[in-house]
Structure formats: structure tokens, C-alpha cells
């Protein structure tokens, strides 16, 4: 290929790889829900309304977690050290926000997220279901994946190595669940269950739920 031909090819790259129209409204709804409606947790509401037994299961997990771990919390890190979002002491510029409010927001978001993740994992069937059922799990996992990645980079995780490790394991599990959409991935359920068991993910979720609940 000569120089002119290659230069043409480079010049034409933008036309060759056209971008589809962005789904602006659809994306905005997700962003709005995640950022501005975080406390109302609309996605959670839709999920729990459509599958109330999942909500009950999640509540049960939370209850067990609190019952098991609450007495030991006094020896643990303070809520502020675990979930606070204070800037480094060396920071010379004052933040434009109320750090305690941000910490509360992260705690609420983490709490809500952990409950949803627990609900999803314990409701995951042992065998592949219908394509529609798998798609429901996959979609929910994809939604949770967004939150997982946000939380991994949030002060809630950066200041709490245990939570960060749990979130990273959850990220891997959720990526696999999110890929259940395709027919070819149905055999992967065993691998997902294996990953959940080997990582002791549900029991660590219990513990994390108890920690965030008791720090409120």
C-alpha cells in the first residue's frame, strides 16, 4: 500500500466508522435516576415490585447480617473513617460541598446497592431459565454493574479495602450475569455460581450490609 493510499484511508476513517444516533433520552433517564433520584431509588422500586419475593429475600439477608455482625461494630472503624469522603489534609482548596452529606449519600447508595446485589445473587437460578428470564437477570446485572463501578471509585470503597475487594469480586460476577443475554452463554451459570461460592460473595455481602447499616 503506497503513501497516498494509506493517507486516504486514514482521512476516510471517520466516515468508515460511523457513529449511530445516541439514545439521548434513554441514557438521560438512567443518569437522572442514578444521580438525582438516588434516594427515591426508582430502579429498585421497579425491581422489587415486579419480584416481591426478591425484596423479601434481600430484607432477610440484611436482617441476618445485622443480627450476626452488629455487636462487633464497636471495635470496627468509625462510619466516618469507613465511608467518609473528606479530602486529603494536604488539600489547599476547600471543597464546594458538605462532606457529611456526601458521606451520607454514599452510605445510602452503598446500602441500597448491596441489598439489590444480594437479592440478585440469591435469586439466580441454578439452571438456565427462559431467554426472557435470563434477559431480566442480565439487565438487572448490567444496571448494578454501573453502580458497582461507580462505588469502586468512590470514597466508600477507597477508604474501605474490604468493601473494595467485595465490589471488585461482585463486578466480575455481574459482568458474567450481564452476558447471560446470549443463547451461547447459558452454560455459564455454573461458572457464575462457582465464582459466587469461591469468593464467599454472599456472606461478605451480608457482612458489608451489616457494616453500612450499623454506621447510619
Amino acid at each position: 500500500m503506497d503513501d497516498d493510499r494509506f493517507d486516504d484511508l486514514i482521512r476516510n476513517l471517520p466516515d468508515d466508522f460511523k457513529v449511530p444516533d445516541p439514545p439521548l433520552e434513554e441514557m438521560w433517564r438512567v443518569i437522572e435516576n442514578a444521580h438525582f433520584n438516588a434516594r427515591t431509588a426508582s430502579t429498585s422500586r421497579v425491581w422489587t415490585q415486579s419480584t416481591p419475593w426478591l425484596a423479601a429475600a434481600a430484607a432477610l439477608l440484611v436482617g441476618i447480617g445485622i443480627g450476626r455482625y452488629m455487636p462487633t461494630r464497636s471495635a470496627g472503624p468509625t462510619p466516618e473513617s469507613t465511608l467518609g469522603s473528606r479530602p486529603p489534609a494536604s488539600s489547599t482548596q476547600l471543597p464546594l460541598y458538605d462532606t457529611s452529606a456526601v458521606a451520607d449519600a454514599y452510605r445510602d447508595q452503598t446500602n441500597q446497592y448491596l441489598g439489590q446485589a444480594a437479592a440478585l445473587l440469591i435469586s439466580l437460578p441454578a439452571k438456565a431459565g427462559t431467554q426472557q428470564a435470563d434477559a431480566t437477570f442480565a439487565n438487572k446485572a448490567a444496571d448494578l454493574l454501573v453502580t458497582t463501578r461507580l462505588l469502586i471509585d468512590s470514597p466508600a470503597a477507597t477508604q474501605d479495602p474490604k468493601l473494595r475487594s467485595l465490589l471488585e469480586d461482585l463486578e466480575l460476577v455481574l459482568v458474567q450475569i450481564a452476558r447471560l443475554r446470549g443463547e451461547r452463554n447459558k452454560g455459564d451459570l455454573d461458572l457464575i455460581h462457582q465464582a459466587v461460592e469461591q469468593g464467599d460473595v454472599i456472606s461478605r455481602l451480608n457482612s458489608a450490609v451489616a457494616t453500612t447499616q450499623s454506621s447510619e
Binding site: M1, R5, F6, L9, I10, L13, P14, D15, D16, F17, K18, V19, P20, P22, P23, L24, E26, M27, W28, V30, I31, E32, A34, H35, F36, Q93, P95, L96, Y97, V102, A142, L145, V146, R149, L150, D153, S154, E171, L172, V175, Q176
Partner: protein, 174 residues
């Protein structure tokens, strides 16, 4: 209302200001996410992730760089992290799956497929630089600021990326 004021209002919880910022920047963010991921579904997810992350960190935006630069830096980070996660799950990925960039229907199929594959096989740094410069139209100065590297590094990466691309396409005589 200027962008600085919009940002202040979003920090205060004003969703209309958030929507205004989103309307201004979302098409470019989506375009970048799509070009870097080659998949519309992933581009949607990465764009959402970018804005959710950006809004939650707006208070940390000090205005040293343009807001768009800051936002595009988050986009590149989001896409890179996701690509690393995909590698971490160590799945067998077929060539067809890896090569998912949609090509224009009127393009020469073999050549376009080969270009997409060659771009996909570049290292992350080369690939990102090539896509941002040659496809998305960023300047070297912009890319350097977004990626946090010197402009010279950016230029040498582009040059190396083009050389690899050319080598991969050597079979195409015409």
C-alpha cells in the same frame, strides 16, 4: 447561564442544569465511547457511567481544564477500566466478537474489516490515541491533556499506531 454556573447548580441538585450540561456534551461523549468500544450497547453504558461519575464528582472539578476535557478524560477512563475488566474475566473471545466495530455498508468489506481488526489489536494507548486523533478529530494538545501525557508522547504514539496499522494492511495493494 454559563457552564460554570450550570456546574454549580448541578452540585446543588438542579436536574435541569444537569440536563443542560448533558445535552451539550452527551453526543460527543457517546461518539468517543462508541469509537473506543465499537459497540452501541457498551457506548450507551459508558456514556451513562461517565455522566453519573462526573456529576457525583463535580465538586472536585476545579476548572483548571475545560469541562469537556475533564469529561472526556472520565470517558476514556471508564472505557479503559471496562476493557481491563473484560480481560480479567479471561473468557475465550472469538475473533468475530472482538471485531465488533460496525462499518459503513458501502465500504469495501475486506479492507474495512481488516482496518477494524488492526485497530482493535493495537495496544490500548496506541488505539486510544489513533481513534481520538484520526477518527474523533481531537488535536494532539487535547489528547495530551485528556490522557495526561506530554504532547510529544501523544505524537509518537500516533506515529507508532499508524505504522502498525499500515503494516497490518500491507496486503492491500490498492
Amino acid at each position: 447561564m454559563n457552564e460554570r454556573q450550570l456546574i454549580a447548580r448541578v452540585i446543588a441538585g438542579d436536574r435541569l442544569a444537569g440536563r443542560a450540561l448533558y445535552d451539550t456534551h452527551a453526543p460527543r461523549v457517546y461518539s468517543l465511547a462508541y469509537r473506543l468500544s465499537g459497540d452501541p450497547e457498551k457506548a450507551r453504558e459508558f456514556t451513562q457511567d461517565t455522566f453519573i461519575r462526573a456529576f457525583s464528582r463535580l465538586a472536585q472539578f476545579r476548572g483548571d481544564a475545560a469541562f469537556s476535557t475533564w469529561l472526556h478524560r472520565i470517558t476514556v477512563t471508564v472505557v479503559s477500566n471496562a476493557r481491563r475488566s473484560e480481560v480479567r474475566i479471561a473468557r475465550e473471545v472469538t475473533l468475530d466478537e472482538a471485531h465488533s466495530i460496525e462499518t459503513a455498508p458501502e465500504a469495501e468489506p475486506d479492507l474495512k474489516e481488516s482496518i477494524a481488526r488492526a485497530v482493535e489489536e493495537l495496544s490500548d494507548a496506541y488505539r486510544t490515541t489513533l481513534i481520538m486523533h484520526d477518527i474523533e478529530g481531537y488535536t494532539h494538545a487535547e489528547i495530551a491533556e485528556i490522557l495526561g501525557v506530554p504532547e510529544g508522547t501523544c505524537k509518537s504514539r500516533l506515529s507508532a499506531a499508524r505504522a502498525q496499522l499500515r503494516e497490518a494492511l500491507a496486503a492491500f495493494k490498492e
